[in-house]
Subunit: 187 residues, 2 copies
């Protein structure tokens, strides 16, 4: 896994907007930039929705003086790949044996069902034990239906998830897995 | 066109984040809610991207104390309809004879080209003279290539655009036009 020391150091001094997923997000953002530059896909991180309370004006223009974070009801990333709608969420856990489902909001699970119903591609990228797995939305929903558990065991991710290859560029080649699962491995 | 008086009145007292497109946006948002409730499509308005400068903590939780608006490089709305990626922008003008192209940012035009290249559906909804037209991205680009003009004449919109029907619910049934253009009129 690529965790350059400077990223770790930078994190401590920068404002930390999310509690989890920062390292994974960083690698995904780099990968998305690569896909964009190579003209392979258009995938964007959605801005965190905010509620604006107060706006003011300065010499530099309009400025937000007070706002709060809203909780997202969709997933973090969406975009367009090979004509298809793609949406996914990045999650990481320090837990070594299982991924707590409480990490995923209930309304996000509802959203996953809707995306599948409308024939979109939807999945989770889960970083655990220094490996990133792509878990298709279908499999996550099936797991939740058939297991009365509050977490997904690491063994299940190993079995039913797809290991995302780490490369120099892109650092996390998750579209390679998307090709395999949703496009029959063809490019 | 449905412009209930209370919307107009409300506008004057609320904080006005954009300079244009508020009325049209309102009708589009209502239409998107309708499509969502009827389980027809998942279309969302992207949150305006902001740059956060300062975050504080209060009893109620984390609060943004200073932030600024970033200019968007993509279009306002995107989502999923019948398995396809859909992205569009809403624009309105009070000009009666032509739509100034300066309303559309250059990087947004670049984005339109990219979405088309990746086989997505991309268009503009333009409100002018109390009519809303859907102008496909392909047609906008072609117009710009073949005309040395800084605005799109209303006559061109009448000829090459598609009039969006106004209904009770949804107020602007733009997906009906999308069906006609991109799915051969079939549902």
């Amino acid at each position: 896994m690529r965790y350059p020391t400077q990223i770790k150091k930078k994190k401590q001094t920068m404002i930390h907007y999310g509690n989890r997923g920062m390292d994974l997000e960083y690698l995904i953002n780099l990968s998305n930039s690569y896909y964009f530059e190579q003209d392979m896909a258009l995938i964007y991180k959605k801005p965190t929705p905010i509620g604006i309370v107060d706006v003011g004006y300065t010499e530099k223009g309009k400025v937000i003086r007070q706002a709060y974070f809203k909780s997202p009801s969709t997933l973090d990333y969406n975009g367009l790949y090979r004509g298809k709608y793609v949406e996914f969420e990045a999650k990481e856990t320090k837990n070594k044996t299982s991924f707590p489902i409480s990490n995923i909001h209930l309304h996000q699970l509802e959203h996953v069902k809707r995306v599948l119903k409308h024939d979109g591609i939807v999945f989770f990228l889960i970083l655990m034990n220094h490996h990133t797995f792509l878990l298709p939305g279908e499999k996550l929903l099936k797991f939740l239906e058939t297991h009365q558990r509050k977490s997904i065991p690491y063994s299940y991710l190993m079995e039913s998830g797809y290991l995302v290859k780490e490369k120099i560029d892109p650092p996390l080649d998750y579209l390679d897995v998307v090709d395999e699962i949703y496009f029959g491995g063809m490019k």
